[in-house]
């Protein structure tokens, strides 16, 4: 029962370092692939995943089956297609894909092979962040195991379908996780994002149709194929489908990561799974899904972890890993830490982001140093608009503005205290 309720983590057990091929097969591993490749047409597989209601776990929540169905499959000239796995996990506060990569590598490989079959790609790249050394070892080993069992390579399971999976390890830069920057990085170029259109689905890696999916997204796929659409649609509690890895970090009693149904209330994650706040600390707010999501408040605890529900509460589910702000941590300094990250990781391609992020950092530092003026808060608000959606080349800058704009709204008195506190000191001198 437990196994069926937690498909993504059923093979991840405290008593073993990781699931071997035999471990993976013993719980139905590679059965989804067998079904897909021997009983279904590529278009059917796309339809299954679409009907299951799987939405991308990389942050944007785009329908996975729909994405696959937009790849040109007919024209002769489009014979080469690529599948690229986004395993660049670098969003601060996010620690979900590493678990899947290190502890159950075959689950990802099976997802990749099924996805590649669905779009008829014969080469797939795993774009892995350079710091994930253990994940790289486990994947390399799993690739050999899968090849020797006929799940990978030429004529997979006697179906006539061929696939080669290549592991690419990056060298550390957050922007590489943006899908078009990732394509440039894979081509060995500077990882600046590309203009869209054309979209990668039509013209991606080396100009060929390319699907880019997150690690966790692909890990859902084998189970949909193996256990069926109806089963998958029975897992969740709310409007979205399936289970998801949710996490919490910060000053909670029991920080961690748990596979839970989509639609789980945030309160349950923080109070039950994470055990509530550490003694002596109160909950002040939280970022629901990594550094580039808007703050939410204790009053939002009953919102559920669904893409649309979180959006309605003014934020984004992002990666689903909560970053907890306690009452003894200064939200202004926390935002400074986040903006320093974004300023450092900006690729510098477009002016608003290249200039605006360092300016944001300078203003925040001045405020914290007691040298801020009330006008600086207006300047910060102005920046959140200037770097907002539509004004920059990619979503890094708008993402950077999300925690800032919500902090200005919810924690304004903390900003003002630095400024007026300073005035009080000046007056008393």
């Amino acid at each position: 029962m437990e196994q069926m309720a937690k498909p993504l983590t059923k093979n991840i057990r405290p008593d073993r370092a990781f699931a071997t091929l035999a471990d993976y097969e013993s719980t139905g591993g590679y059965e989804g692939l067998r079904k897909a490749i021997t009983q279904l047409q590529p278009k059917d597989v796309q339809q299954w995943v679409k009907d299951a209601g799987l939405r991308g776990r990389g942050g944007a929540g785009f329908s996975t089956g729909l994405k696959w169905s937009l790849v040109p499959m007919d024209a002769e000239s489009f014979q080469t297609r690529y599948l690229v796995v986004n395993a660049d996990e670098m969003e601060p506060g996010t620690f979900k894909d590493r678990l899947l990569l290190e502890r159950d590598p075959h689950q990802l490989l099976e997802g990749i092979i099924i996805a590649a079959y669905a779009i008829q790609a014969h080469v797939a790249y795993i774009f892995l962040r350079g710091e994930y050394h253990l994940a790289a070892l486990r994947l390399e080993n799993a690739l050999l195991e899968a090849g020797s069992k006929g799940y990978l390579g030429k004529n997979i399971l006697d179906s006539g379908f061929n696939l080669e999976i290549i592991l690419h390890t990056s060298a550390g830069r957050y922007i590489c996780g943006e899908e078009t920057a990732l394509l440039n990085a894979l081509e060995g170029k500077r990882a600046n994002p590309r203009a869209k259109p054309p979209f990668p689905l039509v013209s991606g890696l080396w100009g060929k149709p390319t699907v880019i999916n997150n690690v966790e997204t692909l890990c859902n796929v084998p189970h949909i194929l193996h256990y069926g659409i109806e089963w998958y649609r029975s897992l969740a509690l709310g409007a979205d489908q399936g289970t998801k890895l949710f996490g919490a970090s910060g000053r909670v009693k029991n920080p961690g990561l748990w596979e839970l149904p989509m639609g789980t209330p945030i309160r349950e994650i923080i109070e039950e799974y994470a055990g509530g706040m550490r003694d002596g600390y109160k909950l002040r707010g939280f970022l629901p899904g990594g550094a580039s999501t808007d703050f939410m408040l204790p009053e939002h605890l009953d919102v559920v972890m669904d893409f649309d529900a979180i959006a309605k509460a003014g934020s984004r589910m992002g990666t689903g890993t909560l970053i907890i702000l306690d009452d003894l941590t200064c939200p202004v300094q926390m935002v400074l830490n986040l903006e320093e990250f974004f300023a450092q990781e900006s690729c510098g391609w477009c002016t608003p982001c290249r200039d605006g992020l360092p300016w944001t950092v300078t203003l925040l530092k001045d405020i914290i140093a007691g040298q801020g003026r009330m006008e600086d808060l207006d300047a910060l608000s102005g920046l959140t608009r200037m770097l907002g959606p539509g004004n920059t080349f990619c979503a890094l800058a708008p993402g950077a503005m999300e925690p800032l704009q919500s902090a200005l709204k919810y924690f304004r008195e903390d900003f003002e205290r630095y400024i007026t506190g300073n005035n009080a000191v000046m007056e008393s001198v």
Binding site: G130, A171, K189, W206, G247, S249, P255, N337
Partner: protein, 163 residues
């Protein structure tokens, strides 16, 4: 017409490095795509990427040195200056910052008597900051060489530097 008469110079590289880089070519459409792998291979052998090596790798990949330099400097994990035998990366992203990353940095630097990015006098260590290592539920976190170390306490810092 090619006005370059100089032969591309791979001589800065060892046969092992050249062989490993050549082996990567089959995985990609063209040689340019091997840039990162090639730089990482050189770094694995030498600890860092010198100007001389950069020129040699560019020659091997048939791209300009400027283009390869643009790629090399883009990434946090390609070192263009010598580093200690073991690089200790401490995470300075949000959760680790909240739970004591600065204390970890101070302790590491004080023990080794170095600034960030400097090599320790015995050539053993360099301390560098790094972004979120994907282990925020065990903050603060450091990476010692290739190994992730979690829940870093003062004792853990002492232990890392003693071995």
């Amino acid at each position: 017409m090619n006005i370059h008469t100089e032969k591309p110079d791979f001589e800065g590289l060892s046969p092992a490095e050249i062989q490993e880089i050549n082996a990567e070519f089959s995985h990609y459409e063209d040689k340019t795509a091997v840039s990162i792998e090639a730089l990482k291979i050189v770094q694995k052998h030498r600890g860092w990427v010198s100007d001389e090596c950069l020129v040699a790798v560019a020659g091997l990949l048939d791209i300009s040195t400027a283009q390869l330099e643009g790629v090399a400097t883009f990434y946090n994990l390609i070192y263009r200056q010598p580093v200690g035998k073991t690089v200790i990366h401490y995470c300075n992203s949000v959760t680790c910052w909240m739970l004591g990353a600065e204390q970890v940095r101070e302790r590491l630097c004080r023990h080794l008597n170095v600034e960030l990015g400097e090599m320790s006098a015995d050539g053993e260590y360099t301390i560098l900051p790094i972004v979120c290592l994907g282990a925020c539920d065990h903050a603060p976190v450091v990476m010692v060489g290739n190994e992730l170390r979690q829940d870093i306490s003062d004792d853990a810092v002492n232990e890392i530097l003693r071995r």
